[in-house]
């Protein structure tokens, strides 16, 4: 449990730093993968919101959706939470 918490912190710090320093798809991919590994990985939503706020300007959309990355993260986190509740060994 302690290892998992430490791992979660390390991954979260990596994602946070990579939002500012690496291309957007690296923190997004890392946070979405982490959402499947860690329980209720709300940091993924935070990463999506951060990327949206930092890099989108006045009314810009992705696929016609405002705050698309935050929404994608939210959906993925919700799906993983749902999977955890219905799958016995997940």
């Amino acid at each position: 449990m302690t290892d998992l918490t430490t791992g979660r912190m390390i991954v979260s710090i990596f994602i946070l730093i990579s939002v500012f320093t690496l291309p957007w798809y690296i923190p997004m991919a890392a946070s979405l993968i982490a959402a499947f590994v860690f329980k209720w990985y709300a940091e993924a939503i935070l990463a999506g919101v951060l990327i949206d706020i930092l890099f989108s300007s006045g009314g810009q959309t992705m696929f016609g959706i405002h705050y698309a990355l935050a929404l994608i993260s939210l959906v993925v986190v919700a799906i993983t939470a749902l999977l955890r509740s219905v799958l016995k060994f997940y």
Binding site: F55, S57, Q60, L69
Partner: protein, 247 residues
């Protein structure tokens, strides 16, 4: 007693007639050449011209490229002169097209960021304000300042999906509303009868000549009352390192 062997090339002995025959041919050619110089020259030219051509092919290609470069240099000079003349004329009518410009280095650009935006290293400290025009290094407009912090600014690119603006197309200055579709690309739906061709220049309206792009494709659907014009910014967004921001 030994004697020097005689070397007689004109000997009539069998097997030694070759040289004599050659001499005769050369003499005949020389006489014919003297008698009909033009005819013989043209025959020789016809024979050797392909050889000369093959030899000079590379040199000619290089000369052609040099000539093209020289002509571009001339065009550039003419462009400078005409631009200066244009500005002088506008000044004489009491209008000026010169702006104060702030240079900004691009910190983040697509595809490193998911939206059609740029983050530049100049902000309110440099006198940049929201709504200011942003051009690529060289004068092509690429966007407007969307938000400003003390040391950085966010540029919303004209090619942002859904971002609409009025432009003028071709030298006839046809007014058209275009929409950004991302990645430096635009499209516009225009009436069938508008005379727009591939290669037409798209400019922003105003005193200052601001080239937004060049028409690259026109798709005409006969079943509809309009045609779709596609064009692209002349500069690649991924290659922009510096921008000019009008103050």
């Amino acid at each position: 007693m030994s004697y020097l062997q005689q070397s007689n090339t004109f000997s009539s002995k069998p097997g030694k007639g070759g040289p004599r025959f050659l001499v005769v041919i050369v003499m005949v050619i020389a006489i014919m050449f003297a008698a009909f110089p033009k005819t013989f020259s043209s025959i020789i030219y016809n024979v050797v011209t392909p050889l000369w051509r093959s030899e000079n092919h590379d040199a000619n290609a290089m000369n052609e490229l040099r000539r093209q470069i020289d002509s571009y240099a001339t065009v550039e000079e003419k462009l400078k002169i005409l631009t200066k003349e244009n500005e002088d004329l506008k000044q004489s009518f009491g209008r000026t097209t010169t702006h104060k410009i702030v240079l900004g280095a691009v910190l983040k650009r697509p595809p490193s960021i998911p939206y059609d935006s740029l983050i530049i290293d100049a902000g309110s400290e440099e006198g940049i304000s929201e709504g200011a025009f942003v051009s690529s290094f060289g004068g092509n407009p690429i966007g407007i300042i969307d938000s400003v912090s003390r040391t950085t600014s966010k540029v919303k690119l004209f090619s942002s999906p859904g971002f609409e603006h009025d432009v003028l197309i071709s030298d006839k200055k046809l007014p058209v509303t275009v929409m950004g579709v991302g990645g430096g690309n635009f499209n516009a739906k225009v009436a069938h009868d508008l005379d727009i061709k591939i290669g037409d220049v798209v400019t922003l309206p105003g005193l200052h000549i601001a080239i937004l792009g060049v028409v690259e494709e026109i798709i005409v659907d006969p079943s509809r009352s309009f045609k779709t014009v596609y064009f692209k910014q002349p500069v690649s967004l991924a290659a922009i390192s510096w921008v000019e921001v009008s103050k």
